[in-house]
Amino acid sequence: MTKKLLLIWRQQPLLSLIFMGFCCLTLAFAIWSWALTPQTASLDKPVERWMTPGLVVHSWRLPPEVLSQALGVDIGTVRGQTLDQIARAQSESVTTLIARIEAAAHAYHEHQAQGDHD
């Protein structure tokens, strides 16, 4: 086995270096993946402009009526639309819309936590 490895190294130095490069890349991406392993609950994550009301309700565990109130429309009527599209249809900035959703989500969860505490 050692003889074979030496033969490869002596006769194909460039390909051997490329092979080692791929091994290093594998290790680097494996470490990066480990660091990125999803751990935090999504309630701490920001709402993104590409999300739909359905996904926000599902991810942030909100009752649909809480989100409907924050959006100013019944979420059943905007199913499949992204927050970006909804904001444009309402002629407001998506950042303002997202801030309103996050405030409503936090208020709802605080209220729930207080209810559990009492």
Binding site: F22, S33, S42, L55, H58, S59, R79, G80, Q81
Partner: protein
């Protein structure tokens, strides 16, 4: 860039998935795996229909592979002619081609889902090596079923963490692609060294 693609998923759903998997399967730089994860999450949130997403992604992937394989097969004669013109490497090239054409089924299978980023290159290589359609179809279809099923399933299961999962999945697939390249190159070098030793023994 990925965000722009993600925003298209709930709007264009199955059509986008079909087109994305089709073009990604013969090498276009489209993040089809991430789109399938996102589609799975939108299925969980009730925005998309599971059956439509699975069918569209699967059909796109199958047709994309077939296109790449058919293109590869058009180059078989070109490679054979090149082998005739360059006898020095024709023996090595011929042996590598035969090995891939006759025993490359597992490589086709694993490059569909586990080392998915190597899929297009392997599809062209299998076609050019002269692999028969019969040998290609079974591992290809089985591999694509797993690719679509795993990514849409993961998106569905981890819909609540979809932002994190997308980033994690990109990083894992990059690690797997690098590992796949290392394995392939390592295998080729090992095979080459074994042949060199066998040739030396024969000459002695």
């Amino acid at each position: 860039m990925t965000e722009t693609f993600l925003a298209l998923v709930p709007t264009y759903g199955p059509v986008l998935l079909g087109v994305a998997t089709y073009f990604s399967c013969f090498g276009a730089p489209i993040p089809a795996s991430i789109l399938m994860l996102a589609a799975g999450a939108f299925v969980a949130s009730g925005d998309l229909v599971l059956g439509e997403i699975i069918l569209a992604a699967f059909l796109g992937a199958i047709l994309g592979d077939w296109t790449g394989f058919a293109i590869g097969r058009r180059f078989t004669h070109w490679l054979e002619r090149a082998e005739d013109r360059h006898p020095k490497w024709s023996s090595l090239s011929h042996r590598a081609r035969m090995a891939l054409a006759q025993k490359g089924g597992w490589a086709v299978f694993f490059s569909r889902w586990l080392f998915a980023q190597l899929g297009p290159a392997l599809t062209y290589a299998a076609g050019t090596a002269g692999m028969s359609w019969r040998r290609f179809l079974l591992p290809q279809i089985a591999g694509e079923v797993l690719w679509v099923g795993i990514y849409v399933g993961l998106g569905y299961a981890f819909a609540r963490h979809i932002s994190d999962v997308s980033l994690f999945a990109s990083s894992v697939s990059a690690a797997l692609a690098a590992a796949g390249c290392a394995l392939m190159l390592g295998g080729i070098l090992w095979w080459w060294a074994s042949n060199q030793k066998a040739d030396a023994r024969r000459k002695a």
